[in-house]
């Protein structure tokens, strides 16, 4: 705050016109002692001002005040002398322009107006984001909520069935019917019940074990019974219902076959755009779709696919995956 003048500045006495104060004082016929008594200062302080020796004077604030009072006493322009003093000690005062209130807003008070406009802006941003999201992913959402999504299911004997999700209920309902038929014949083994019971749900069954069990039951006399029991809950069979177990071994090499090592979302559409499969598969599950190509396949998580074959040929997913999501069309065009 205090700006003590340096000895260098003291030598530049020409910067502060102390002599003009002396001249004005002498013109009025006053001595420095008289000035000192008028201003209630000491004679040394008055002499220091006249000699521009500001080291003997206090803080710049007081020095400015003394100079102004002295100038007024000897009828000089105090502001000009103070400006020269400021230049001398190297301090320029800057003043910013002062504003005036000239415009009065209408009485509606600014608060709610700005709040309203902010709220409107937020709504617009939220709306735009939602619209963008809808346009980007809206198709998948609508497929997900469509009333009758198609679900493909592998049966124990290697057949691939395509259901509407509403019809998925039917195989479960048919379980008691199946049990009844087994009891009626009294021949069916517990293994058969397990196989046929699982067949409609049939999501986790390994193809090899299914084939083995199917072969095991072949010797049983009740196999035809089981086969007919299987057929009852299957209203829409996309493949031939009459297929031997020997064919089902080959069946794994026909159509699309996927094995999953982790959870993965799969969407499969045929060439006409009809959704054949649209669901999540869990780790260890597999998906076998006995459908002739071409098929459009969307895999939500490529890293979760441990095996991907079409008509027995392994398909390399790397060229189709982008950020772990693969979109491809099988058979792959060479």
């Amino acid at each position: 705050m205090t700006q003590e003048p340096t000895s260098e500045l003291d030598s530049q006495i020409s910067g502060f016109p102390g002599k003009s104060l002396v001249r004005a004082r002498e013109q009025l016929g006053m001595s420095s002692a008289q000035v000192a008594s008028e201003l209630r200062l000491s004679v040394q302080q008055v002499d220091a001002i006249e000699a521009a020796d500001f080291s003997k004077l206090p803080n710049v604030v007081f020095t400015r005040g003394y100079i102004r009072a002295y100038a007024r006493l000897v009828k000089l322009d105090g502001d000009e002398l103070v400006r020269q003093y400021d230049q001398h000690v190297g301090g320029e005062r800057q003043t910013a322009p002062i504003r005036t209130v000239t415009r009065i807003r209408p009485s509606g008070s600014s608060g709610p107006v700005t709040f309203g406009s902010l709220l409107l802006l937020v709504l617009v941003v939220v709306g735009a984001t939602f619209w963008w999201w809808q346009t980007q992913y809206g198709h998948d959402v609508s497929a997900e909520v469509s009333p009758e999504p198609m679900v493909a299911v592998d049966t124990a004997d290697g057949e691939t069935l395509v259901f509407n999700s509403a019809e998925m209920e039917q195989p479960q309902v048919s379980e008691p019917l199946l049990a009844e038929s087994v009891q009626a014949t009294g021949v069916a083994s517990a293994a058969q019940v397990a196989v046929t019971g699982e067949a409609p749900v049939g999501l986790t069954e390994g193809a090899a074990t299914a084939v083995d069990e199917a072969q095991a039951t072949e010797a049983e006399p009740a196999v035809t019974q089981a086969a007919t029991a299987e057929q009852t809950p299957q209203p829409e069979q996309t493949t031939q219902p009459e297929q031997g177990p020997s064919e089902s071994v080959i069946a794994t090499s026909e159509g699309l076959y996927l094995r999953f090592s982790d959870d993965c979302w799969v969407t499969i559409k045929d060439a006409s755009g009809k959704t054949l499969f649209n669901n999540l598969r869990k780790a260890g599950q597999e998906l076998h779709l006995k459908q002739n190509g071409p098929l459009n396949v969307l895999l939500g998580r490529v890293s979760a696919i441990s095996e991907f074959t079409f008509d027995g040929a392994t398909v390399d997913l790397a060229p189709f995956s982008n950020k772990n999501v693969a979109r491809l069309r099988v058979p792959v065009a060479q």
Partner: protein, 345 residues
Amino acid sequence: MFKKIRGLFSSDLSIDLGTANTLIYVRDKDIVLNEPSVVAIRHNGNHKAVAAVGADAKRMLGKTPGNITAIRPMKDGVIADFHVTEKMLQYFISKVHDSNFLTPSPRVLVCVPCKSTQVERRAIKESALGAGAREVYLIEEPMAAAIGAGLPVDEARGSMVVDIGGGTTEIAVISLNGIVYAESVRVGGDRFDEAIVTYVRRNYGSLIGDATAERIKQEIGTAYPSSEVLEIDVRGRNLAEGIPRRFTLNSNEILEALQEPLSSIVQAVKSALEQCPPELAADIAEFGIVITGGGALLRNIDRLISEESGLPVIVAEDPLTCVARGGGKALEMLDKHAFELLSYE
């Protein structure tokens, strides 16, 4: 939470909420607003609306039709009309912010008279909060005035500051960032105006308004006799005839008119010097007394106090803005260590 977000877009302010003028200092800028503390309210039935604030409203003082009332919401340095003060502050705070997109929510430092009561301080604080401030700090006016005048308040040296405002005169002796002695008298520019009105009525039998009295004070008012005599022509309603009459006043008459309020100020200064510890009194005697505030612009007031006290008296640079600038400097130190400068309820 909304105030915090808006606070990001607001500058810190120091407000000298004075009886006569309100000044706002914006941090890292300077004084950006200096307006009279006047609000004009328009009545539409039961609905009230702000018609004008500041200089526009001041021009309306004493000249309003029935449905407009021009109010000075501050009286004697404290709030007289809480809601109008809040409205006025709201206008001023929004005015100093360039952006109108968000309602500003600044941190605000407000100057309060040193002898104001807890209730009066709370009212000022609440009113600033109501006007949109995020946080409100209070500082005593003489401390802000001393900082604004550039006095070495942080040194172990006595400094005496006399801040003559519109409603009050604050006298304080300051050393080491603290107030050693403070006195506040409810005499200021408004009392000078009233004294002039009374003098004119008594001696000329004419009634003049406050605005005219203020103009007389500014143009020819003096606190100490000088060889130079100034004159002014004024018009007032003659009480006997009921007709407006013109008459001429001179500076010696105004000096006579101002004797009573001036002597109150001089008495308060003398009393402060009497109460002051001797070491600090010695410092004051060596360097002098500093006058700030709008009252310091009255001609020869430094001379009067100097003659009466026998000490050197100087008028601060730009005395009208000292308090606001001092508050601004305190605000800039706020984040560091200046809490000792602040005042609490």
